[in-house]
């Protein structure tokens, strides 16, 4: 079976700055892969390139052996790649349930129903409630998304991605801005998704405890370059990685 995701010499420059530089990487099916690196290393830009939000200046993205480099974000999502954003991205005025329902309908194509569509709405509602149940938000289904506390908003965005039943899930710092307990709960959730949903996860994460606990493999970005890749144990021992992070300290 081909790898679920592959990048070939992926590059993105913003003016003189190469935010992502010559990154070639392979992710196998079922993996939980963490992408780490100091602030500004290019992790988010890398996710944008994978999902089609930002266009590469060079290189390719292959999803299930298909070159998707020229496809829109929408088309990549329909091919099985769902994502969340580092800065929570929801439909704030719509209800929690509606947020998830839109996600499901967008994927299945039911959103173009002009009139009626009651049966369709009912069917997607069931799927939406199930996804909300997975992140323990089912009792908040009716309130506007903007009224949820920050932590729940981040869970909602994960639920939206999950409800799309993707093959590949990209999570950009799901624990950002969370307290200690919430962080642990989210780490457990990510692990549960990985085990129960048989999907591949790419996780950008700052919290090293989370990373070393949940990841199968880790890729390290530094100034846009892929400087190391390996198991948690290998990355822990890697001198170049330690220096990258130490350099970030001072």
């Amino acid at each position: 079976m081909p790898p679920i995701l592959e990048t070939r010499r992926l590059d993105r420059a913003f003016g003189a700055l190469r935010a992502v530089a010559d990154v070639s990487l392979v992710v196998e099916r079922g993996e939980l892969r963490a992408i780490i690196g100091p602030n500004g290393a290019g992790k988010t830009t890398f996710f944008h390139l994978l999902s089609g939000v930002v266009r590469p200046t060079a290189g390719q993205v292959l999803l299930k052996d298909e070159d998707v480099s020229g496809l829109s974000a929408a088309a990549r999502c329909r091919r099985g790649m769902s994502r969340t954003f580092q800065i929570t991205s929801l439909f704030p005025e719509l209800s929690v349930l509606e947020n998830v329902r839109i996600a499901i309908q967008a994927k299945r194509g039911g959103n173009t129903r002009l009139l009626g569509g009651r049966a369709l709405l009912a069917r997607t509602e069931a799927g939406a409630r199930e996804a909300l149940g997975f992140v323990n938000l089912e009792d908040r289904a009716a309130v506007p998304a903007s009224t949820l506390p920050h932590g729940d908003q981040r869970l909602l965005e994960i639920a939206m991605a999950l409800a799309q039943e993707p093959d590949l899930l990209l999570l950009d710092e799901p624990t950002q801005g969370l307290g200690v307990e919430e962080t642990a709960a989210t780490a457990a959730l990510v692990q549960r998704i990985s085990r129960e949903r048989r999907l591949t996860i790419l996780l950008v994460e700052h919290d090293m405890d989370v990373v070393f606990n949940v990841a199968d493999r880790i890729s390290v970005l530094h100034f846009g370059r892929l400087i190391a890749e390996g198991s948690p144990a290998e990355i822990r021992r890697n001198v170049e990685v330690q220096q990258a992070y130490l350099g970030d300290m001072d």
Partner: protein, 310 residues
């Protein structure tokens, strides 16, 4: 709120249905005009309120509908419904390429493109004398019958009911639309277009479709206005009317459908009353608009909802 929700529409319908017998001729004429503008503002709310696309050129489609129906009625003496259909379809057809191009941009750039296209269409209507009669417009547009050989709609009350029914049909359609899966997608696009795109569908497709629907409904309003007033003129396409439509929507309550319909009535009524007292009425409508935006955010309907929710 609940009793208002339930009985408000019924009471409104009853009033609108019996009012023609209690009004003088010119009052009925004004009421008919109000309904035309309500329909026009309603159509703008679809793109502005529900999709977040602010168009500065919505009058163009009103005007296209007016010319379309005027030409059909004068040259072919078709029954009114066919003229209405023709006007609406014509406006929608022109809106398609305009929407396709304009939705490449968003926000203020989208607004500017719609304005530019509207001015282009206005100029065309103004210069193409052979077809449109230039600045004189097309006069003598007849009120024909409901069908070939059917009863004529010359009687003011008959035409009033034609417009009332058209408005109600459009309103019910719009309501079904905004509650459909498509309508919910529109609202999601309004809330967060980039997120919508990453969820798997191209927002532009939705935006073009709703732009065309809104233009066709504006065209329907214009198509009704031509036989009602007896003429179609370039003023109907001028940016002034586009701007007034924005004010109607905002005064009434953006994104509520019923709000813009009410807003249009209030706007035209205020204008009517003020213009009978002073020639500087625009100054006063402007001032009223400013005050309403500041003190009634959410418009009339928004204020009513807050009042009854509290």
């Amino acid at each position: 709120m609940a009793p208002l929700r339930r009985w408000g529409p019924v009471a409104t319908l009853v009033v609108l249905a019996v009012l023609p017998w209690g009004l003088a001729r010119h009052q009925l004429s004004l009421l008919t005009d109000l309904l035309i503008f309500s329909l026009f503002a309603l159509s703008l709310d679809l793109i502005m309120g529900y999709t977040g696309m602010v168009s500065f050129g919505h009058a163009a489609y009103f005007g296209l509908g007016a010319y379309g129906s005027a030409l059909l009625l004068i040259h072919f003496e078709v029954p009114i419904p066919i003229a209405l259909l023709g006007g609406a379809l014509g406006a929608g057809l022109v809106a398609w390429p305009v929407g396709y191009i304009s939705t490449r941009a968003t926000g203020i750039y989208f607004a500017m493109l719609t304005l530019a296209f509207a001015q282009l269409l206005y100029t065309l209507a103004y210069k193409w004398r052979a077809l449109t009669g230039g600045s004189d417009g097309i006069a003598g547009v007849p009120k024909t019958a409901l069908w070939w050989g059917g009863p004529s709609l010359v009687e003011p009350r008959a035409f009033y009911f034609l417009i009332l029914v058209s408005f109600l049909v459009a309103f019910v359609l719009c309501r079904a639309l905004v509650r459909s899966p498509f309508g919910r997608a529109l609202q999601a696009i309004r809330e967060n277009e980039r997120k919508f795109a990453t969820l798997g569908q191209d927002p532009r497709r939705f935006k073009v479709i709703v732009f065309v629907i809104a233009a066709a409904l504006a065209g329907l309003a214009g198509a009704l206005s031509a036989p009602f007033r007896g003429f179609a003129s370039p003023e109907a396409m001028f940016w002034l009317l586009s701007g007034q439509a924005l004010m109607m929507v905002i005064i009434g309550g953006i994104g509520t459908l019923v709000g813009p319909a009410i807003g249009a009535m209030v706007f035209v009524l205020v204008q009517e009353v003020l213009s009978s007292y002073t020639e500087h009425w625009m100054l006063f409508t402007g001032a009223i608009f400013v005050l309403m935006v500041i003190f009634l955010p959410g418009g009339i309907v928004g204020a009513a909802r807050r009042r009854f929710a509290a």
